[in-house]
Symmetry: C2
Subunit: 153 residues, 2 copies
DNA sequence: GTATCTGCAAATCTTTTGCTCATCA
DNA sequence: TGATGAGCAAAAGATTTGCAGATAC
């Protein structure tokens, strides 16, 4: 897999996006293209609000709720991704020890685990350019036992 | 570090909590104890709402905003932790390739990176009991270059 | 032509805040 | 007693939804 430190070819990404939409039975509208292009042009992992304020400049009538709806639709079709794994509700933990999480993508349950082999691993060299690590954290996303059993029926 | 697969001793944790509050100059109130105890008793990483509905049973006048305020205070003093690293605003990514993130805890910027050495690592055995992994994901939390330079003046 | 999408407005949900009274140290 | 915290109510911020008109295929 190619690293994306170099500028991605946005128009090519948009072309692929259009194809993917057709494949998925999604209508290709100017709003959807604008939302996707804005996301593809940015390396800042923007919020819905930020995407909206960026695209209103060229498309003044686009509404924020269309941006939200578009993002949700594209997420559901796997065209884009959300950085957070959990829905927007704060979740808290009285365990302040260094530990990691297994997050169930179906029921949003969270289980703690420890992983000394990971803790011993040396971060990749390119990280030094990004900043100073305070906490290395692993999240395994998947189906928990209960949800898997349910799914397999 | 001890694994917490066995039931933690909640009253001992509450005792430590009381000491920690005194150390930090925080008043020890019944509401704060109730919030902390509820969190310590749970292994479900509950939300503010869930903590509240749990403690109103024994303390009917406690308000939800007190729970929020208490959680915020305890977070600020490092007594508890929030599972998510980012504030409650959805952040999106057009890069659906397998990759990891460096998240700045000061400015919330996010940088992508790739890490084949991690991808090659075998998950700990205890994970099998938890469920089926779909995506292993690493998040390095720390200060990005810009924020670090700012902090160092 | 028709199912799907957009824009608008309003609603919902989560979290924060100002104020006043109560309480812990 | 004096600073800090709690409760109430209202506000703020993020996201979702119902509906009527518009548009992609």
């Amino acid at each position: 897999m190619m690293s994306r430190t170099s500028l991605p070819d946005v128009s090519q990404q948009v072309d692929e996006f259009v194809l993917k939409c057709r494949q998925e039975g999604l209508k290709v509208t100017p709003q959807r293209i604008a939302v996707f292009r804005s996301l593809a042009e940015s390396d800042k992992h923007p919020s819905a609000e930020e995407i909206h304020s960026r695209i209103v400049e060229e498309m003044p009538t686009v509404s924020l709720d269309t941006v939200y709806r578009t993002l949700t639709t594209l997420l559901e079709h796997g065209v884009i991704r959300r950085v957070e794994s959990l829905p927007n509700v704060g979740r808290f933990d009285s365990n302040v020890d260094h530990h990691h999480h297994f997050v169930c993508t179906a029921c949003n349950s969270i289980q703690d685990f420890y992983w000394p082999d990971f803790d011993a691993l040396k971060p990749p060299a390119e990280i030094a350019k990004m900043g100073t690590i305070q906490q290395p954290y692993v999240e395994f996303r998947g189906l928990c036992r209960a949800c898997k059993d349910l799914a397999e029926g």
